[in-house]
């Protein structure tokens, strides 16, 4: 029996990297008494997989991991049990029953949306102009250094939706395993025409949702799943 867990991550623990967050969640699952399934062997580990690693420094409103359990008894209370064992800033929002044949969280991810606010006024001031210019262009080139050389990409193909409101940038972009677009690459595409190069600490970055593709539409990873927790 599989469950998909939706959670958020805010505050100082944005400095806890993906692997450490995962280790922490494993402990929380254990002390919460969730009847999680373990692998066989000398060092059994939980059957658990995160949808999309969060980079150090990024906050998140809606992330996912899948777990396999050996029993669904008392599943309505799992959310509260987990939240009692979480640290400050990590919150379980919902649990969903995942059909046996459903694709795993990680393989499902096709897109993600982000929210960015800027610390210095200069950037905030030209944001609307930058977004306008981006929307009007047919092509915004991005260059990424890879092992085999420099990869060129048209950001317009990777960004599905982009907007700006009162100095806050929101966008949805490709997050598939082959085409994931890093938010920093988009920022470079947006601001380098204005001669602005942003350092990671000059803006606050929040991932707002993670999506899968169903019937050629992108929908949240929880879409179509049945919530099993109270409230």
């Amino acid at each position: 029996m599989k469950l998909r867990v939706r959670f958020s991550k805010f505050g100082p623990i944005k400095y806890i990297g993906h692997l450490d967050t995962m280790r922490f969640v494993q402990k929380a699952i254990k002390s919460a008494g969730i009847p999680v399934k373990y692998t066989e062997g000398f060092s059994p580990h939980q059957v658990l997989s995160f949808a999309f690693p969060l980079g150090v420094g990024m906050e998140a409103e809606s992330e996912y991991f899948d777990i396999e359990v050996v029993s669904m008894e008392g599943v309505e209370a799992f959310k509260d049990s987990l939240n009692r064992e979480m640290c400050d800033g990590l919150t379980v929002l919902n649990l969903y029953e995942l059909p046996e044949k459903a694709k795993g969280a990680m393989a499902s991810v096709s897109a993600a949306s982000y929210k960015i606010s800027f610390h210095d006024e200069r950037t905030a001031a030209i944001l609307s102009e930058a977004v306008k210019k981006f929307k009007e262009s047919d092509e915004v080139k991005s260059f990424k250094e890879t092992k085999t050389g420099i990869r060129e990409r048209n950001l317009k193909d990777a960004v599905y939706d982009i907007d700006e409101n009162e100095g806050i940038l929101t966008f949805t972009c490709d997050a598939s395993s082959g085409g994931n677009l890093k938010p920093s690459a988009l920022l470079e595409g947006l601001f380098s025409p204005f001669g602005i190069e942003l350092k990671p600490w000059e803006y606050t970055l929040t991932r707002t949702e993670v999506y899968k593709t169903e019937d050629e539409k992108i929908v949240p990873l929880s879409a179509g799943l049945k919530a099993v927790n109270h409230d």
Binding site: I13, D20, R23, F24, K27, I29, S31, P200, W201
Partner: protein
């Protein structure tokens, strides 16, 4: 949400920002407005090292169980952050509140190894607290040291207001009450220190005066006021089953060096190995009851969700109910999918069966600590292990499917000869031979026997029978390691034996600090100021700077290491009473030189003096 002391720019550019943000599960937040005493506990090394230490978890939990006290933590910032903090003048802060260390009432520093001494100065420096206790005012926290190195606090005495001699569970409440009372009365810092010196187990360096003989040894060590005791008596927990235990330990987000739950089963050790300081410091032997341990194990697992648990003690095989405890743990942990990491147990059929259940035989190795290569030298150091014990244990293990053996030895033990050193290679060779005799070729499955011999250099420590011993020089050490390697190379099975040895230069300094006196503190400060820091780490250790510091201060290293000490010499640490008497240690020193073995506590009481506490398991 908690505000951090470091900004995003710093946290995103340094290594492992998780070291500095606090907020770990089971860390304690309190409202500082209803707190009377703010205590910050420091382990002067990196977070991952400090978070592996049980002692701080005990005191942290105990202090926070007091309503009027809030205890927080601080560790040495890594070199990258150290640089940034100096450059930007960011004061060192505690993890929980992120408030500056200087704002606290107490700064407690645990002294686990000598090579952390320059990091103490780093902590004080970054906090903006004067190095010398005499330069501090009520604007500074009271700086208190504790842990094994506080049993010879003299080399760092200048940097501390107080030392706590003994187990922290016993006198801290009295110290905090005194502090509250004295601060409310508005007494001077000097007066408070005077009062503190009257609490059993509290050593206040500035309340004592040392004079030296012409030859540089101690002539006298006297309190400066009449009401201050001449000796400071080690404080111990009388009943371990009743003392505070941290069943809700702080869980680090990043992997600590020892990333597992710790169940402390007993204190003290019945084996009187003559080189071992811990074996004397923590006497008499006290056990935690089986029922208490079962309860703690359950709580620890429930409160943390940790995937590994281990037992802690100086010699777990000597715990009287070890079998019951392990069987309980195996049961409990199998159900909850928790790994048991076994301490080094004496190898016998029972321990092999247990290991078989909890470890992958193919991957795990067996550990023996003969410490010396020959029976003669093992008698000198009073290590009960015989060659027969080792070989029969190895034979059992080989039959059980093991083929990796680790052996630990010390080089430079008192009376050591070339024969003793050759014995290391011979013993390794015998173990290989036992393997080939025990496991027939067709049963080896293409596996090979692997013996790993590691040597460290013997450093005489205070409160051991060997506190009178002469230490060897660095070049002696190098020669001894070379001889050991040569001895191994000459054996028939040398291709199955791997040899590792420790660095020689760190050992020399450790030797100086271990038996140092107040004259050393100037060298430590000088070395720190010339760039020495993180001396326990190979990549930052600067032996050249240390040598220069000794030279520039006119302090002889040999005086502390290679010099011959007479039986009646007054040692800098003699004012501390650990229960074990100096006359017992001297008797043991003479027994060592006569190659005479002394029975352990369980066999026959040797009258070491620890019986005076009235609680030792085997004390008359």
């Amino acid at each position: 949400m908690r505000k951090l002391a470091l900004n995003d720019e710093i946290l995103l550019t340094i290594d492992k920002p998780a070291r500095y943000i606090g907020g770990e599960k089971n860390s304690v937040m309190k409202d500082k407005t209803d707190i009377a005493v703010r205590f910050v506990m420091c382990f002067p090394d990196l977070y991952e090292i400090g978070m592996s230490h049980l002692g701080i978890q005990i005191l942290y939990g105990m202090f926070n169980s007091y309503e009027d006290t809030w205890c927080e933590r601080v560790y040495s910032p890594g070199m990258d952050l150290d640089r940034i903090m100096r450059e930007k003048k960011i004061p060192l802060f505690a993890l929980e509140s992120q408030d500056p260390v200087k704002d606290f009432d107490f700064l407690g520093i645990t002294l686990q190894y000598e090579m952390c001494y320059t990091n103490i100065l780093q902590i004080l420096d970054l906090s903006g607290i004067p190095f010398s206790a005499k330069d501090r005012t009520w604007d500074d926290p009271v700086v208190i040291g504790g842990g094994p190195c506080s049993y010879n606090p003299e080399p760092i005495a200048e940097f501390f207001d107080l030392f706590y001699i003994g187990e922290g569970e016993t006198q801290y409440r009295n110290l905090l009450d005194l502090y509250k009372e004295d601060r409310a009365k508005g007494v001077s810092r000097e007066e408070f220190l005077h009062h503190a010196a009257l609490i059993p187990g509290i050593y206040v360096p500035c309340m004592y005066e040392v004079s030296y003989k012409n030859d540089g040894t101690v002539a006298s060590f006297e309190p400066i006021y009449e009401d201050i005791p001449k000796t400071v008596k080690k404080q111990i927990v009388k009943d371990l089953s009743e003392s505070f235990y941290p069943t809700r330990p702080v869980l680090p987000f990043i992997k600590a060096t020892q990333d597992r739950l710790v169940l402390e089963i007993m204190r003290g050790c019945i084996r009187g190995c003559r080189f071992c300081q811990a074996g004397q410091l923590y006497r008499p032997i006290r056990e935690r009851s089986l029922e208490t341990l079962k309860q703690y194990a359950k709580e620890l697992i429930a409160n943390t969700g940790h995937e590994e648990i281990c037992l802690s003690s100086l010699s777990s095989s000597d715990y009287t109910e070890l079998e019951e405890l392990l069987l309980f743990l195996i049961d409990e942990c199998e159900a909850k999918k928790i790994n048991i990491s076994l301490p080094s147990l004496r190898i016998d059929q029972f321990s092999l069966d247990v290991m078989n259940k909890v470890q992958d035989v193919k991957k795990s190795s067996l550990t023996f600590a003969p410490e010396a290569g020959s029976q003669r030298l093992r008698n000198v150091i009073n290590k009960g292990l015989t060659e027969e014990d080792i070989l029969s244990g190895a034979k059992l293990a080989f039959e059980g499917g093991w083929n990796k053996v680790k052996l630990y030895f010390m080089l430079g033990l008192p009376t050591e000869t070339e024969e003793d050193i050759k014995g290391i290679g011979l013993l390794c060779n015998e173990i290989c031979k036992t393997y080939f005799e025990t496991v027939p070729k067709e049963k080896r499955n293409g596996q090979k026997i692997q013996v790993t011999a590691s040597t460290s250099f013997f450093i005489p420590k205070p409160f051991t029978a060997f506190q009178w011993a002469q230490m060897y020089t660095e070049s002696d050490f190098r020669e001894k390691a070379y001889q050991t390697r040569l001895g191994i190379m000459e054996t028939l099975n040398q291709r199955s034996i791997k040899y590792n040895w420790h660095d020689t230069d760190v050992s020399v300094l450790e030797g100086v600090f271990a038996r140092g006196d107040r004259k050393i503190s100037g060298v430590i400060r000088y070395a720190y100021e010339s760039g020495c820091i993180f001396d326990a780490w190979n990549e930052t250790f600067r032996y050249d700077l240390w040598l220069k510091a000794f030279e520039d201060n006119g302090i002889s290293i040999d005086f502390y290491t290679t010099r011959k000490r007479e039986d009646d010499e007054i040692f800098p640490w003699d004012f501390i009473d650990i229960g074990v008497s100096k006359s017992f240690l001297l008797r043991e020193w003479h027994n060592a030189l006569m190659e005479k073995v002394s029975p352990n506590c369980r066999m026959q009481c040797q009258g070491c003096g620890a019986a005076s506490y009235g609680v030792g398991l085997y004390c008359p």
